[in-house]
């Protein structure tokens, strides 16, 4: 028991020390670059000032962070569910696939900020337009990945399913979908980062709260410490959501080859009980 939890602990350290070291290195570079005047303060503030501000204003930042996080999560969940549904429809029917693709592409490629007036007029200034923008941004990677995943299922498995007569729904639930999960997760990971951006962009369009508002205002005031604080917090939200997904992937797909680690180095456990 002791050794197991010891192992686990060592595993956590193992996995975190490198990113932590990197972060520290980046902080040092940032510090040096600003202290030496290589980059001027009106462009990039010093880390000290930025973190000072973050501590001073943490409750202000926290309030806005919460708003953005809720929008992001909501947008991501909707995009995930919708994206999978659309992908399923596209895989089921060539007609749907060939008709839906152009619309999806269209919706994907349009710069969301350019249709801001439409959002403002149709959806107002509340919660909804931000969630909509987040959904629009996050939707496409989910669809593309899921379609790819659903289509790369082994054909023999599908033939087998057909002889079991489970029908399309059961075949989907028990075979196609689980087989597509590794692809789906790759799509979801991209999607969650885009959902964050979407929520922030949605806030750019029209909002009195959220990190987008903080960033925009800081930009207007040339308040670079606040701008960087906003950017850092935004990134942290994105990174945390991403890591949550990564964790979910590890829990749900222990079987997936990409989690099994490198091939050739597989060593059977030394010793035993």
């Amino acid at each position: 028991m002791d050794t197991v939890s010891g192992d686990r602990w060592r595993g956590v350290v193992e996995r975190t020390w490198r990113p932590a070291a990197l972060m520290a290195a980046l902080l040092v570079v940032w510090h040096l670059v600003t202290v030496t005047g290589l980059v001027e303060a009106y462009l990039v503030p010093s880390p000290a000032r930025t973190f000072e501000l973050m501590i001073d204003k943490w409750s202000y930042l926290w309030g806005h962070t919460w708003v953005t996080t809720v929008e992001t999560v909501l947008g991501f969940v909707i995009a995930g569910v919708l994206g999978v549904l659309v992908a399923v429809a596209m895989v089921c029917s060539r007609t749907i696939e060939s008709t839906a693709y152009p619309i999806l592409l269209f919706a994907q490629v349009i710069p969301k900020i350019a249709i801001a007036p439409l959002f403002v007029v149709w959806l107002g200034f509340g919660f909804e337009p931000k969630v909509v923008v987040a959904v629009l941004m996050a939707f496409f990677p989910v669809v593309i990945s899921t379609v790819t995943g659903l289509k790369s299922v082994d054909t023999e498995m599908l033939e087998l399913a057909a002889t079991m007569g489970g029908g399309p729904v059961k075949t989907f639930v028990k075979i196609r979908f689980p087989a597509a999960l590794p692809h789906l997760f790759a799509g979801l990971k991209v999607a969650v980062t885009l959902a964050v951006t979407g929520a922030v962009v949605g806030e750019f369009v029209g909002s009195n709260e959220g990190l987008g508002y903080v960033i925009l205002q800081a930009n207007g005031n040339m308040d670079t410490p606040m701008l960087f604080a906003g950017l850092i917090v935004t990134s942290v939200v994105g990174v945390l959501l991403f890591l949550l997904l990564d964790l979910a992937e590890q829990l749900m797909l222990p079987w997936h080859a990409s989690r099994r680690g490198a091939a050739v180095t597989t060593l059977p456990a030394k010793g035993g009980s």
């Binding site: 001027e40 303060a41 009106y42 462009l43 900020i113 801001a116 007036p117 439409l118 959002f119 403002v120 007029v121 107002g124 200034f125 750019f204 369009v205 029209g206 909002s207 009195n208 508002y213 925009l216 205002q217 800081a218 930009n219 207007g220 005031n221 040339m222 308040d223 670079t224």
Partner: protein, 315 residues
């Protein structure tokens, strides 16, 4: 300056001017000046670039990505306080075009009428920061209105659609556009008409250009003043000159309207009758005081911190 032998034929030196925004009626004199050869005559081959907000223009000017900028004085003041090495070389819009804009059908004629109204603003811009002072000046509080931050393009749509009652903007910018799009008359409450005036758009450059090539700056100021003076005399021709210079413009009617509105903003009482772009230190001081009072800057410095008087010909 200007002695750079590599700088094109005819001795004209290629110079970039970055505007505060995409070209609209207010910028007509620059195009007019180019068309009339005014800049050429001063040895300047002017290249006009669109900008994306005064703040970015000031920063880009300070960083040397453009030789000259055309931007709002409040943005300049904020930037200077933050350490951006840029300086004004003459404010041309000495009366602020800042105004509350609305359809006349809203029956707003005094600041008090704004009570309970929703106001579309853009987070972080100067108007939004001076608006509370405007309200206070007129015996109102911020809580009397509801502020809504919206993307610049969304502001107009919000007012036309009725999502908000009024918007904060430059009288020389949005007003004529929404009037045309909605087919309804637009009314203005100009800050300047209700006891709050400060400098708006003007010409600026970086400290390094000022230091290295004061001659070029002098030429630029002189040429620009001349261009504005000429344009003032022939507003139609000036507005006309924008046609073709920039493909994507508001309709000619809107451009003219915008420019005519601009022309009403060129002077304070102190500079009446002088050439456009000629400022007085007193006016500068008053603007700086206003900026400090409204929180655009935290500490007021001497006008010389923001304004290089030496390059401006006294007119």
């Amino acid at each position: 300056g200007g002695g750079d032998p590599a700088a094109g034929g005819g001795g004209a030196r290629e110079v970039t001017l970055t505007l505060n925004w995409y070209p609209y009626g207010e910028h007509a004199p620059f195009y007019y000046g180019v068309k009339q050869g005014i800049y050429d005559r001063h040895g300047i081959k002017l290249k006009i670039q669109a900008g994306q907000g005064s703040g970015k223009t000031v920063t880009a000017t300070g960083a040397g990505q453009t030789d000259f900028g055309w931007a709002d004085t409040s943005a300049l003041a904020t930037a200077v306080e933050q350490g951006v090495p840029a300086k004004s070389i003459g404010v041309f819009l000495q009366t602020t075009p800042a105004s509350v804009q609305f359809f006349t059908e809203k029956n707003i004629s005094r600041p008090e009428d704004l009570k309970g109204k929703s106001v579309a603003t853009t987070a972080g811009d100067a108007l939004t920061k001076t608006f509370p002072a405007f309200l206070k000046q007129n015996g109102m509080r911020e809580s009397d209105v509801s502020i809504q931050n919206i993307d610049p393009a969304g502001k107009m749509a919000a007012v036309i659609s009725g999502r908000t009652d009024v918007l904060l903007g430059f009288a020389s910018d949005q007003g004529p556009t929404i009037e045309e799009k909605a087919g309804k008359d637009v009314g203005y409450l100009r800050f300047a008409d209700f006891g709050l005036n400060y400098f708006s758009n003007g010409l600026l450059t970086s400290k390094s250009v000022l230091q290295k090539d004061p001659e070029l700056v002098r030429k630029m100021v002189a040429a620009t003043q001349e261009a504005w003076a000429q344009a003032e005399k022939a507003p139609e021709a000036a507005a006309e000159s924008m046609k073709g210079a920039a493909e994507q413009l508001p309709s000619p009617a809107v451009v003219l309207e915008q420019f005519k509105t601009t022309l009403t903003l060129l002077h304070t009482d102190a500079t009446k009758g002088k050439a456009p772009g000629v400022n007085t230190a007193e006016d500068w001081r008053r603007t700086i005081e206003t900026f400090q009072r409204t929180g655009i800057i935290t500490e007021a410095s001497d006008p010389s911190a923001y304004w290089e008087e030496s390059v401006a010909p006294k007119g």
